[in-house]
């Protein structure tokens, strides 16, 4: 009779450890195991005991076979080196002979198709603070190549492809098929396609969404279908049959949505859901890319007071109020001195927040690139206090101390010539560790 008791966490860990030793783990099982042993000492011990148990049975089995493990390992090392050396000499001879032919062919091929020459598809341009540091395959600036599979458990990763910005909203899994196509296996992606990126497509098991110049979100739930929401522009969506051949086509424009389910051959319009755009709006806003020791906030913070939202090894970029229309001229002292922004301007605000703990000994560097042009950067405590009400997050509590702003010139901050990128280098100064700056960007 099968055991129907609910497993205790430790018993679950033991079973997962057995599965791991027997090479029967799935990604979900591995995540579960990681979750159990990461925070529970009892489960951790159960895991180590179990693997040690398997190791000792293995040792005994090998003793019985009179295998000298160390010598065997070294012999394998030698054989591997022998194989490598043989292959090396063979390769050298073949390479010399083929070199001339290859160069001739390459020059012709490059002239014929420069797009195919590089398998580089894009780069990781942004990460929210809840994407774990060192998470597999997720580092700012990492180059993404054709065929690359991304699996994101939580947070949002922003991918910059040529003329296309794709936000992967975890948990999600996708494959980069080319610079113009991604295959979404599960989860959601938000795409902003700029001029020159038309034709970019998102393919799921149910449908394909081809962009015609737009911003949209595709959500794929395996077994339950694909949903497409278009905020602006135009996309062409196709429903696939069981062979992957398009059957029905729907064209969606501003504020329209549709759902697709392959197994029931269903493709129909539904109500547009603006809230699917919220995760990206709240975390990225009008940020094009970030670089260095920077992260975007995983969600709007409730408090930004000193020591309440610590950032031990990175700076945090917090999108504040967006699309604020000035009813009168704004005269304020910014990084470049007194600045006047005329009434009628539409501004979006971004707060850079850096609040390390006393244990931090390194000073982070980073840069943020925006879609719009930077109007001004507010770096003094007084300027920050004065603009909290107009540009700050509704309901958020800001620090009111006089040490809130930057301590120039110890803290460095530079605006690029095209006024789209701002670079930071913040030091760590006592008595307060908190450093903040507010960037006001003109919407374009």
């Amino acid at each position: 009779m099968p055991d129907e008791r609910e497993l205790s966490p430790r018993e679950e860990v033991r079973q997962l450890a057995d599965a791991m030793y027997d090479r029967r783990m799935s990604p979900e099982s591995m995540r579960r195991l990681d979750e159990l042993i990461a925070d529970d000492l009892g489960c951790l011990q159960a895991y180590v005991e179990r693997i040690d148990f398997h190791g000792e049975i293995l040792n005994r089995a090998q003793d019985r076979r009179q295998a000298n493990q160390a010598a065997s390992a070294v012999a394998r090392m030698v054989r591997t080196r022998h194989v490598q050396e043989s292959r090396q000499s063979q390769r050298l001879a073949a390479t010399t002979a083929a070199c001339v032919l290859f160069m001739a062919g390459l020059i012709g091929w490059m002239a014929w198709s420069k797009d195919l020459f590089s398998s580089r598809v894009g780069v990781i341009a942004g990460l929210t603070s809840n994407v774990p540091d060192g998470a597999a395959g997720f580092e700012l600036g990492q180059i993404l190549r054709k065929g690359y599979v991304l699996s994101l458990d939580e947070g949002i990763a922003t991918l910059q492809l040529p003329h296309v910005l794709v936000d992967v909203i975890g948990p999600a899994r996708l494959k980069l098929k080319s610079i113009r196509q991604i295959e979404l296996q599960s989860g959601s992606v938000h795409a902003v396609v700029q001029k020159g990126g038309e034709g970019f497509s998102v393919r799921t098991q149910d449908s394909e969404v081809v962009d015609l110049g737009t911003e949209f979100v595709v959500t794929c739930t395996p077994g339950s279908g694909t949903e497409v929401n278009v905020r602006r522009g135009r996309v062409q969506t196709s429903l696939f049959d069981w062979r992957g051949v398009p059957t029905k086509v729907l064209e969606l424009t501003d504020n329209r949505a549709a759902t697709f389910l392959q197994r029931s051959e269903q493709a129909r319009e539904i109500d547009f859901k603006p809230k699917v755009f919220q995760p990206v709006d709240l975390t990225r806003g009008g940020i094009r890319s970030i670089d260095g020791a920077l992260r975007t906030a995983a969600q709007p913070p409730v408090t930004l007071q000193s020591n309440q939202l610590t950032t031990p090894n990175h700076m945090l970029v917090v999108p504040e109020r967006q699309d604020v229309v000035l009813e009168q001229d704004l005269v304020i002292t910014g990084l470049e001195g007194p600045t006047k922004i005329p009434a009628g301007s539409t501004l979006s605000s971004y707060l850079i927040h850096y609040d390390p703990t006393a244990r931090v000994s390194f000073a982070p560097r980073g840069a943020v690139t925006y879609f719009g042009r930077i109007a001004t950067v507010l770096v003094t405590s007084s300027a920050l206090h004065a603009t909290d009400a107009t540009f700050g997050l509704e309901g958020a509590i800001y620090d009111q101390s006089e040490a809130r702003g930057l301590e120039l010139p110890g803290d460095e901050i530079r605006i690029s010539n095209d006024r789209k990128t701002i670079s930071y280098f913040f030091g760590v100064d006592l008595p307060s560790f908190l450093d903040e700056a507010r960037v006001l960007v003109v919407n374009e």
């Binding site: 791991m20 029967r24 011990q45 040690d52 090392m77 080196r81």
Partner: protein
């Protein structure tokens, strides 16, 4: 019959096990396995002349290096003395034999390449096991990029627990051998064939003329029996 001497270890050394607040530290114990903690004098036979390792399969240069009696033999001797410890470290990180074998091959390469830098008055075990941990961790990171694996945070904790609970784990291993001896001969042979074979579970099942499910069911039963035996005997000592 083995003569046992006991000392009681510090009860706070292993606080996560309130049930086993104290456990005997075994001295002068009877073991079922070779004692790898003591450096042995290996035969003066050269590496290339070891049985079942035909010389014509070797890389000539590397074989010559290993055959150098002052260096190669020292390396093999040092490696043999710590191999089990390093292997169990790698296994705890990567979780299965095939990956542990790959990790250990890499570890051997690194240790051999860095052997000249190693100062003889240092602890070779500690040095080698440290390298093993980092190689295993790098292997796991690569595995995570390709598919899935344990996080760095979990790996660090595994290493800590291994170091902190070394005596308890050693005791459990001793008891495991006693429990294995109590199994029937067919069960012992099955475990030896299953664990000692380099075949996958599917290939092993085929070679035994069984279904994969049968192999797993039998393994599960035997593992449960052994664990119950170990836990029973652990309780007897108190």
């Amino acid at each position: 019959m083995a003569r046992w001497e006991f000392t009681w270890s510090d009860p706070d050394a292993f606080p996560i096990l309130p049930k086993y607040g104290q456990f005997p530290k075994l001295l002068n114990r009877k073991t079922h396995r070779r004692d790898n903690s003591v450096k042995k004098d290996l035969p003066t036979m050269k590496f290339s002349e070891q049985p079942s390792m035909p010389a014509n399969k070797f890389s000539k240069r590397l074989t010559e290096e290993l055959d150098d009696s002052s260096r190669g033999a020292d390396f093999l001797r040092d490696l043999s003395s710590v191999y089990r410890d390093a292997y169990s470290r790698a296994l705890a990180i990567v979780g299965n034999r095939a990956d542990a074998d790959d990790v250990m091959q890499e570890v051997c390469i690194v240790l051999w390449q860095k052997y000249d830098e190693f100062e003889q008055d240092r602890d070779f075990r500690k040095w080698a096991c440290g390298i093993c941990f980092y190689v295993a961790k790098a292997f796991m990171r690569k595995r995570r990029r390709q598919s899935f694996g344990l996080s760095d945070r979990s790996l660090a904790k595994i290493e800590q627990i291994r170091a902190g609970g070394a005596e308890l784990f050693e005791l459990r291993r001793e008891l495991l051998h006693e429990c294995l001896d109590k199994l029937g001969e067919r069960d012992q042979q099955f475990l030896e064939d299953c664990y000692g074979s380099s075949l996958s579970q599917v290939e092993f099942a085929r070679s035994q003329g069984m279904s994969v499910e049968t192999v797993y069911t039998r393994l599960k039963r035997l593992r449960r029996k052994l664990i119950e035996c170990i836990n029973r005997n652990l309780g007897k000592g108190f």
